[in-house]
């Protein structure tokens, strides 16, 4: 079934990116539909993070195009880039909270420094966002260094959703967390994506996370998308690479030592 432009929120066309002689992305094609949660899976070093940073505009692709809401975003001026960024919310793998700011200032950062919201109103919205990720007012004035890894992820999630973005990005949201905390984060992500009606793009190699947060799954291998489909099909993909990744077996076409 072909899709029209209005059916696609993010369109990635033939994106290439190399670092020296290392060709990380070798012609990635991927569409993400509005309101859907797309999870990109793949092993370490297959280009997941580079792909995400290309979509976010943190890395400029060598060639190819990235189109968001029908508009190319690959080569934008600083001002236009800031406008596109206003649509985004991003949860970084390590949280990427600002050490020099308190928890509430981290959450309210965009409101305070980019949107010009007053400190009182911004603090109230930060508190509401923290409540949505099951954190109370008692953490508001703490420093990020005083929080556990799971709490830092939740603060990062609150920072990502506070401005009600149209598109949410999640970079390895459960890496480094214990299984219970990881499940809490997955549930929060699913709940917030649904509540906002946002489009979501996540990268992960955690299949538990995939099953919780994905509507659609794409697998990247050696810089190309080699399979995509709805999450319900991921266990019966008919693709040997996906099958090996899902089962976590050493035997299969993916050679770990070769990477």
């Amino acid at each position: 079934m072909s899709k029209t432009d209005s059916d696609i929120k993010i369109s990635i066309r033939d994106v290439h990116k190399s670092f020296g002689s290392n060709h990380v992305l070798q012609g990635v094609d991927l569409d993400v539909c509005p309101g859907r949660s797309m999870v990109v899976i793949g092993g370490s070093g297959t280009g997941k993070s580079v792909l995400l940073k290309c979509i976010l505009g943190l890395i400029t692709p060598d060639s190819g195009s990235i189109i968001i809401d029908g508009k190319p975003v690959t080569h934008l001026s600083e001002r236009k880039r800031a406008k596109v960024m206003a649509k985004f919310g991003m949860l970084f793998q390590g949280g990427a909270l600002f050490d020099s700011l308190s928890v509430w200032e981290n959450v309210a950062f965009r409101l305070l420094y980019a949107d010009g919201v007053g400190r009182k109103a911004a603090k109230q919205r930060a508190e509401a966002a923290l409540n949505q990720v099951n954190l109370g007012a008692e953490v508001m004035n703490l420093s990020p260094a005083e929080l556990s890894g799971g709490m830092q992820k939740r603060v990062g999630l609150a920072r990502a959703i506070v401005a009600k973005p149209e598109i949410l990005f999640f970079d390895e949201p459960t890496t480094g967390l214990d299984p219970i905390t990881a499940d809490v984060i997955d549930n929060l992500i699913r709940r917030q994506v649904t509540a906002l009606g946002a489009t979501a793009v996540s990268i992960t190699h955690d299949m538990g996370s995939v099953r919780k947060i994905a509507d659609d799954v794409a697998m990247i291998h050696e810089g190309k998308i080699i399979w995509r489909g709805p999450v319900k099909d991921v266990d019966n993909s008919g693709n040997d690479y996906v099958q090996q990744f899902v089962t976590g077996s050493e035997d299969g076409p993916i050679k770990v030592l070769a990477r």
Binding site: L56, M85, G94, D99, Y113
Partner: protein, 255 residues
């Protein structure tokens, strides 16, 4: 390996580095001089670079002024010219030692701190996070540091000038039997406005170098603790060398 190839490769690397540094400086200065300005960041940098560096700069200046007075007295005694101690101390401090030594201390303290902080932000993706939060890292991190350093380093050097002269005065009156009032009168009568202003122009230039090197090396820091450590070392070393080089160029212009 062919020696010509080594020379060529080194020259290309140096040219590339100089180009990258110039572009970085251009973006940093543009960010410092055009809105939006992040006043809280600027205020924090004024405190860190200016106020918290006062003890280091003050101690450097007082001991430099004192040692300078002793050396000039020793050298002057060979020509029966001991009476010129106040004149040469104030000239040496305001035109040369005040700006250069204070800036070298600040290169160690401020450039290193900036490189370490921004480098840590780079490797923990905090700079990427700034961009995703619609905030230009150059405007939020680099611009305020450059602006604060260019403004506060001359202020610090002015304080260093005064403390350095007082260091010379203290040694001259307590050890070398100078009359205190006469020493001060000689100093004030001898020093010209240009002696002080030329030192402050040097200080503003050195302030720019200190902030630029700290931000540049921190911003380009590679992954890991080793990358941040290397960025910090490079920031201090390059700031110190550029301060010496800029001092020579400015001195030839000001003489």
């Amino acid at each position: 390996m062919n020696p010509l190839a080594i020379i060529g490769r080194t020259l290309i690397a140096l040219t590339r580095e100089a180009g990258a540094m110039s572009l970085f400086a251009w973006r940093g200065v543009s960010a410092a001089l055009s809105p939006p300005w992040y006043w809280s960041q600027l205020g924090a940098q004024f405190l860190r670079i200016g106020y918290f560096s006062l003890p280091v700069v003050g101690l450097t200046a007082v001991f430099t002024g004192a040692a300078l007075a002793l050396n000039i007295y020793t050298g002057g005694a060979r020509f029966n010219a001991e009476q010129f101690v106040p004149n040469i101390v104030v000239l040496g401090i305001t035109r040369e030692l005040g700006p250069v030594l204070a800036s070298l201390m600040l290169a160690g303290r401020v450039s290193a701190a900036m490189a370490a902080e921004i480098g840590a932000m780079r490797v923990t993706e905090q700079i990427d996070a700034l961009e995703t939060l619609s905030t230009d890292p150059f405007r939020f991190l680099v611009g305020p540091r450059i602006l604060a350093a260019v403004i506060t380093v001359p202020m610090l050097v002015l304080v260093a000038d005064i403390i350095g002269v007082l260091g010379g005065w203290a040694v001259s009156t307590q050890i070398l039997d100078f009359n205190g009032a006469t020493y001060i009168r000689n100093t004030v009568d001898f020093v010209t406005r240009w002696d002080v202003v030329s030192g402050l122009i040097k200080a503003a230039t050195f302030g720019f170098i200190i902030a630029l090197m700290g931000c540049y090396h921190g911003y380009r820091s590679k992954r890991g603790a080793q990358g941040v450590g290397r960025a910090t070392t490079n920031a201090v070393v390059s700031a110190a060398i550029l301060i010496f080089a800029a001092n020579y160029v400015l001195t030839t212009l000001f003489v």
